[in-house]
Subunit: 341 residues, 4 copies
């Protein structure tokens, strides 16, 4: 059930609608848009009678939703959501560049990269303190010590921190030290973790699982939002296919599909998708050209010395070139996208 409010509905009209929803034992989710607010209903089994709402003040329409997802839907909010990560926006006509090393290795390395990133004009810093590694014997990340270094990066360079959590304790720590909780591809259907992230009061960057269909990806976001954390950013990072020239196959067609179906912003990760330094810039440019709201990029002062995934990290110089080209391509899309919207 989706309740569309009239453009002139007051805040107390919206509150009243939500009260009625909760009195029926369901959950109400207000989504203010540019011209009107809509209220999503979740928690119901089976359909809800629209008659409960149609005559409430300020209600324009009560619509049955037949799609499996509700809160992510463009039906609920017509404009692309702008998610505030720290003090900077992702989504809504901005091109967000998130850059940094794969893993937090030590303060010196991290500060060297952060300086490059800050100088470029980017406003977001990435870097993993908890690393999901295929082997139990591989480097698993610095943990809380790494998060403290990231907090210092924010202090020093004014960059907003996006970093991965792999379990509930990790989410608590990222909420404490960082600005945005990253949920990795391997945890995209770790539903307990999604629910916990949905209760956190920080935005969530949700990476697509390696073999997730679009529906599964969107419903993973819905898990988070159903717990009332509406600040979700999606991320395409490559899917698993037979093709062996790149680590994964970056599926950029998901970008226009996400924009068509949902109001959520979506960014692209060309570093993990390709696994090869020489492909990263080409695929980063392609992501922007496909309409992505941002990029998440690995940069390392000495890629060949990185403890983790060095082969794909950009040098500072390659990163600078990318930053400039990505913005020029983003400009090409602006009038056209505006015309479409």
């Amino acid at each position: 059930m989706l309740i569309v409010m009239r453009p002139d509905a007051t805040e107390s009209d919206v509150t009243r609608v939500i009260e009625v929803i909760e009195s029926l034992g369901f959950r109400g989710h207000a989504m203010p848009g540019e011209t009107r607010t809509a209220v999503g209903v979740t928690g119901n089994r089976g359909s809800v009678d629209p008659a409960h709402f149609e005559n409430l003040p300020g209600v324009a329409e009560a619509i049955r939703v037949t799609k499996p997802y509700k809160l992510i839907s463009r039906d609920l909010r017509l404009e692309t959501s702008v998610v505030k990560v720290g003090n900077a926006p992702i989504g809504g006509g901005n091109l967000a560049i998130i850059a940094g090393p794969c893993a937090i290795e030590n303060r010196k390395q991290v500060f060297a990269v952060a300086e490059t990133v800050a100088k470029s004009g980017a406003r977001f810093f990435r870097g993993g303190a908890f690393k999901p590694r295929t082997s139990p014997y591989a480097f698993q990340g610095m943990g809380e010590e790494g998060l403290k270094i990231l907090a210092d990066v924010r202090e020093e360079f004014g960059l907003n921190i996006i970093t991965e959590a792999m379990d509930e304790r990790g989410i608590d720590l990222v909420v404490k030290y960082g600005d945005c909780i990253q949920i990795g591809a391997r945890n995209m259907q770790n539903f307990s973790l999604l629910k916990y992230a949905g209760q956190a009061r920080k935005p969530v960057l949700l990476k697509r699982g390696m073999s997730a269909t679009l529906d599964e990806f969107l419903l993973a976001a819905e898990y988070i939002m159903a717990e009332r954390n509406y600040d979700v950013i999606l991320c395409e990072r490559g899917i698993r296919t037979f093709a062996d020239h790149a680590r994964n196959t970056l599926d950029l067609s998901v970008v226009p599909a996400v924009h068509r179906l949902t109001h959520l912003p979506i960014i692209v990760d060309p570093s993990h998708a390709t696994g090869h330094n020489y492909m990263v810039n080409a695929m980063a440019r392609a992501g922007v050209a496909a309409g992505a709201d941002g990029l998440i990029i690995e940069v390392h002062p000495c890629p060949e010395e990185a403890l983790c995934d060095g082969a794909q990290a950009l040098t500072p110089q390659q990163y600078a070139e990318l930053y400039e080209q990505a913005h020029r391509i983003h400009e090409v899309l602006q009038p056209a996208e505006a015309a479409v919207a």
Copy 2:
């Protein structure tokens, strides 16, 4: 590092080797086999000097391991491991039939299925109290109430209980009420959960992720064993491919590959793999013919009324036919497999 003990090594020789390993800051894992014990070493970064061990009493050989996995390897244990689940074995020439409903829905349904399963001669009962569902709005399982029903099934029918856990609290509950912790495909690379399961004192049934390579699958098992829970059973449940006539593509060639590389038993789940009732028996028979150590099968008294995945559940009659055919095919393999071993 893998330390092979002499056939005549005493228990105290093994203990001494492990003490030396721990004194170096590593972890030692004793794996007794039919003719000799081997001790795996984990926790080392880089290689360990064999000289530490070669002159200890009872040591036959210290071998450097170059493969990414250590404890699952056939190099460590030559025979297929027999994992005891409750009072019955999985692996080692037995054909384990695990049957039951997809989800625990209510006591009456569960007892009806359990009677069918017990009468067939099977010794393991399955059924989910926590259900990983793609949509947050779908039935999520009965939780602890469901586990209590399963415990009653064991009491009443003598069946050993295998049931899924999705988070740490779930593992604690399965340990309390059940006999074997199932880790689902979506959590195969939930490394925090694998480590927690590795500290539990119940066996683990680990399902292959939908897009997991063989190496990733084996290293997920290694995560559990590195925490000293050596009772791991693998399960092939279909992989995600372009093919659309079945829900997933059951990849049976993983069965001989697992048997070649590891000492772990592997079973097959034809119900989730195919998603179609009419395919289940054909693929179950195929799994046994490929050499699987068992089957995990969905049975439901009225498949069309099941709350979850009813389309794939067998009727009691279909299940009875399968049980009989599976055992006859398993017999065909016996002399040949014995000859190979």
Copy 3:
């Protein structure tokens, strides 16, 4: 359009129906079954008026067909077709074993394998004289000289010859020297070649393309049958997926799916699917257990010396073991399958 004749319809009733079909500018395909004949109509754009046929003598019913395939459908023929290859049948309760080397290399090698195959009791011999090779610089097969050797094998051992053709000239030669035209996976959607094979007067063994859906596979068979060659045998030989432990992923669930939808026999090729000698017998057994009508197997006297795909060929001894196990498993299915049919 599908015209079902009455059980007591005479041959001239069927002929009359076909004459009416042809007079409308379409093509009629009579498919005699155990209890009644059905006549498929192809060549029509849009639907045909049943009134043309309903009052003809011997007609029981005229049915509109909405599926994309017509002639392969079980609606047209209730029993599995038995295809005669040379003097031996494939389909219909028989287990056909087709064995031989990958490529025809020389007379001595071929005769050595043929002796093994004939002695086992198998009635079909395989071996490629035209080899589709990924590289233009790899061995491309002996051509017509190889086909002559195959003809001599039939003469000497009484084995029926199944061998691949890659173009029209190749089909002409296989028709001249062999008993069954094999169309390889890479040519499954070479529609010009399918049409030409449909005009040949020898049966066709059609291999599934590496990324063919079930529908595409069935429609490729339909291409052949629409040209009035109804003797088509399907072959599952593995699909392309991300999994890297075997060359391809043998998709055995296609076997029950083909049997449900069509009357065509389907066999399984575990040699090309796995690419590894040690997996072949396990997957061959699995194919039979899944209900396949036969196996196509590579055997080589000295696999390590083979010019092409040696790693997957069975030794004569492995082949003998497989032959025996496959037949024992096939027996297990007999009563059950009979009961189903």
Copy 4:
């Protein structure tokens, strides 16, 4: 074997080298580049002794080639090849736009599209007279009549004609009426057809097979070139994966990979890859941003009336917008790409 000539080698030096190659029973392929010519050797089994060539006049170096491909390799020609299709170039810093309807349906439709294409500034026209269709009962194309219409389009609008051939007779006809032979994805490993196209004296546009690895794709091009037709253009058109939101998954990372390994130009087909009108422009822009040398696009005056694949065709207005954006993005890459080269 690859023989690199000195920058000052004369044409007769090159001729002499080729004569020596042919006298050894092999085939020589001269590839002139900007600063020097290299000569590839094919037809040899095993390695050739460099001593045959090292002392010939004009020879700088004779290099053993260990990769499976020779003539497509960047080792042979350092610059990206520019392929002349009719009177216009593909490759080498140009952005080639190839546009037209999916199928040639009738003169009026074709001329309407051609006018749009010519007006945009594009120099290449596409449209199928032979259509590979999954079902034998679907529209198979107009055949030679369609090709005559295409020849008239060239006459009238000065557009160069690229059109598909599915068999040898089709190649003869495309050579007669068109400017470039398209080999479709389903025929990418139809090796007999590739060899025949290699003997034609018109350029070949080779589409990647739906499940072709990069190596298989490149070796298919090598098949054509080994027959001495060096004018090959590659085309990425989407691969088959589990993802179901688009018809295929456009694998743009193949673009930088092809440019790294080969000297061949590569273009992108976003229409067939996505199958959805609303995705085409996004993916076309992405293709250009990834570095593709061109685009092949379906345009139709009334997409909803198209006999074939209408859902993906652009309207003339959408096409015009794409044409402009694609060129602006291509400009962004120019300085950077030049710097790299």
